[in-house]
């Protein structure tokens, strides 16, 4: 077994290997520290805090190394093996975003997670990142499912991280039940696909007998339903607001950013070989869900007085925008999806970082007059919300314009109409937050979270990135477009390692 394992290790993408090794090192470090006898109560606190910092450093180093590992040359897949991973450019891009976001979340919680020691949080964060990377890069249904479940189970522990908080337990319970249900639906779909095609490739199954596509279509729809649950696209979105509200703020960011990036990357890979331009049943399903998510998510966020719930609605709506990009197969479609993913990740992560640095409770009322009390924080949150709303200086404007361009060139008029209407609804509530922050400050200041250096640095970096990429989107556009240009299959190896999007009809 060891020999077989060593022989197949090069098949695993480098980030997966690095993350797995990092998890083992962190586990070892925690175990070593835990076996030491604990001293007096006063003395322990310092020492354990030091241990937590060591854990954070190990986690940060792991994430950084995994990020560097993205540039390692892809080894040719060994012959005769079931192909488990697709280490192509789309995977590298998605993994890069996942790792950067995880690094950001680590910066938010490197010492304390919701007032608790963050030892297990680091471990669960790395495990969740590993699951996300595996799910994003899988070319095989087994690999995808294992990655997805690793992600879900780590999230469960993170959501319930605050002890004796009824909201946290409730959120974890809701997540557990719905995640289990959606996994069952997903598995059912994968099993039907296996029954139809006889292989476990993670792609929408072509009908074995084109005259009777019922089984293949049913399999695709079931897999889609499972993915929609995890992506929290409407009408499968009901859990998101409660989970984001009950979880600690960094975990909310993890749910809203990392897990959605991973699943969207996987969703795009699932449909890489499928023509989504026509009126096939999966394409119609995607279109209906996209419209429902855009309109429903924004309506959900409209009139919310809880900022986390507001961001949950906004996150649902952004999944809808991403689906529009996915449906607009054309010269811009795939590139705009990749670009939008980056813009969404930066802005949402930043918004949650601002919430983490702000008042203890995520009530909108607590942010009243924040421009007078903490101008930098209020400015940062405004930049993130402007980006989410799609207002020019921030990157969100260009990202949305890119999707609209893709939609126009693919003649998706109905979807674009829904996008524009829901964006206008979105403007109202994003700008309402800014309006409340500019209002005169009340006399009683709400209790603020303890200042954390990590969050401040993250917030500044994200605000800068959001504005800079918004002003100079060229390099990122080139990068995202280059992801999907057909590489010249120079050798047989290169032909086998081709990206998923090259078979898409342009």
């Amino acid at each position: 077994m060891i020999a077989a394992l060593v022989a197949t290790l090069p098949d695993m993408p480098m980030p997966v290997l690095v993350l797995a090794a990092g998890i083992l090192v962190l586990l070892l470090a925690i175990a070593c520290r835990g076996s030491r006898p604990s001293g007096a109560a006063g003395g322990t606190d310092d020492r354990t805090d030091g241990g937590t910092v060591a854990g954070a450093i190990i986690s940060a180093a792991t994430i950084a190394l995994a990020f560097i590992g993205l540039w390692s040359p892809a080894s040719p897949p060994s012959g005769g093996m079931a192909r488990l991973f697709a280490a192509d450019a789309w995977f590298a891009y998605g993994t890069g975003l996942i790792l950067l976001s995880s690094g950001g979340i680590l910066a938010m919680s490197w010492r304390r997670m919701a007032g608790e020691r963050a030892d297990e949080a680091h471990l669960l964060l790395l495990l969740g990142t590993l699951g996300a990377v595996v799910a994003a890069g899988s070319a095989n249904a087994v690999a995808f499912f294992v990655g997805l479940e690793t992600l879900s189970l780590s999230l469960l522990g993170l959501i319930a991280y605050r002890p004796r908080v009824p909201d946290a337990a409730e959120a974890a319970m809701k997540y557990l039940v719905l995640s289990g249900t959606s996994s069952a639906i997903l598995l059912f779909g994968l099993a039907l696909a296996y029954a139809e095609t006889g292989d476990l490739r993670f792609t929408a199954p072509p009908a074995a007998n084109p005259a009777e596509p019922a089984l293949a279509v049913a399999a695709t729809i079931l897999v889609l339903t499972g993915l929609f649950f995890k992506l929290s696209a409407a009408p499968f979105h009901l859990w998101l607001a409660d989970v984001l509200d009950g979880a600690p703020t960094p975990v909310s960011a993890f749910v809203a950013v990392v897990s959605k990036i991973a699943l969207f990357v996987a969703l795009a890979r699932y449909f890489a070989m499928t023509d989504l331009t026509g009126t096939s049943l999966p394409a119609q399903d995607l279109a209906v869900v996209a419209v429902l998510s855009m309109v429903g998510g924004n309506l959900l966020a409209f009139g919310q007085t809880n900022l986390k719930r507001l961001l949950a609605g906004s996150s649902i709506a952004h999944v809808g925008y991403l689906l529009v990009a996915l449906l607009s197969a054309g010269p811009f479609g795939a590139g705009s999806a990749a670009f939008y993913l980056a813009a969404y990740a930066a802005a949402t992560l930043g918004a949650f970082a601002a919430l983490g640095a702000g008042p203890d409770r995520p009530d909108l009322a607590a942010w009243r007059g924040m421009f007078h009390r903490r101008p930098a924080l209020a400015l940062a949150l405004s930049v993130m919300l402007l980006s989410l709303a799609g207002i020019p200086p921030a990157v969100g404007f260009f990202a949305k314009a890119y999707i609209v361009a893709a939609g126009v060139s693919a003649h998706r008029m109905l979807l674009l109409a829904a996008l524009i209407v829901s964006s206008i609804i979105g403007l109202c509530y994003y700008l309402n937050v800014a309006r409340i922050m500019m209002a005169p400050a009340p006399d009683t200041a709400p209790a603020m979270a303890a200042r954390s250096g990590g969050t401040t640095v993250l917030l500044a970096a994200l605000a800068l990135a959001t504005l800079l990429i918004g002003l100079f989107p060229g390099p990122l556009v080139q990068r995202t477009t280059a992801l999907f240009l057909p590489a010249v299959p120079a050798t047989e190896t290169a032909a086998r390692a081709r990206g998923p999007f090259e078979n898409m009809r342009w």
Binding site: A4, A20, E120, L127, T150, G157
Partner: protein, 170 residues
Amino acid sequence: MILNAPFLLFALVAVWATFMVVTRAVAIHALLYLVVALLALACIFDVLGAPFAAILEVIVYAGAIMVLFVFVVMMLNLGRPDRLRENTWITPRTWVGPGILAALLLAALADALAMAPPDGGPVVVIDTRQVGLALYGPYVLMVELASFLLLAGLVSAFRIGRHIRGEDAP
């Protein structure tokens, strides 16, 4: 091909038992039906030519996981003076439904075992050796990643369970 009489019977038993699971009000009654449903699933696996999966289904699900369920049900009732009510849960009458279904399964299984396997039939038997070769050959990385999946579950359960016991910091 596989839509023969035993398969249909197993499938009907599985569906009916699962229906009874979700409609029972008392957890213990539902568990009895759940055992039958899992046994029926195991029989289906066997008919499909996967005896190894069938045995695993019996050992892991009908065996280990069910014991866990029964344990939890018992622990949740700890300390309540309702022994009488518990006694009324398991009356001979509750055994009738699952018993009949299980007897059906047994009869069908015996019938299936007695029949000579058709030569060159469509059912290819996948034995333990093939499962092992697949797991430790092309899917060895999945076995390794599955260990990380278990680790994630373990750490999450540890984190949640530690505070249920009422401990603060270690």
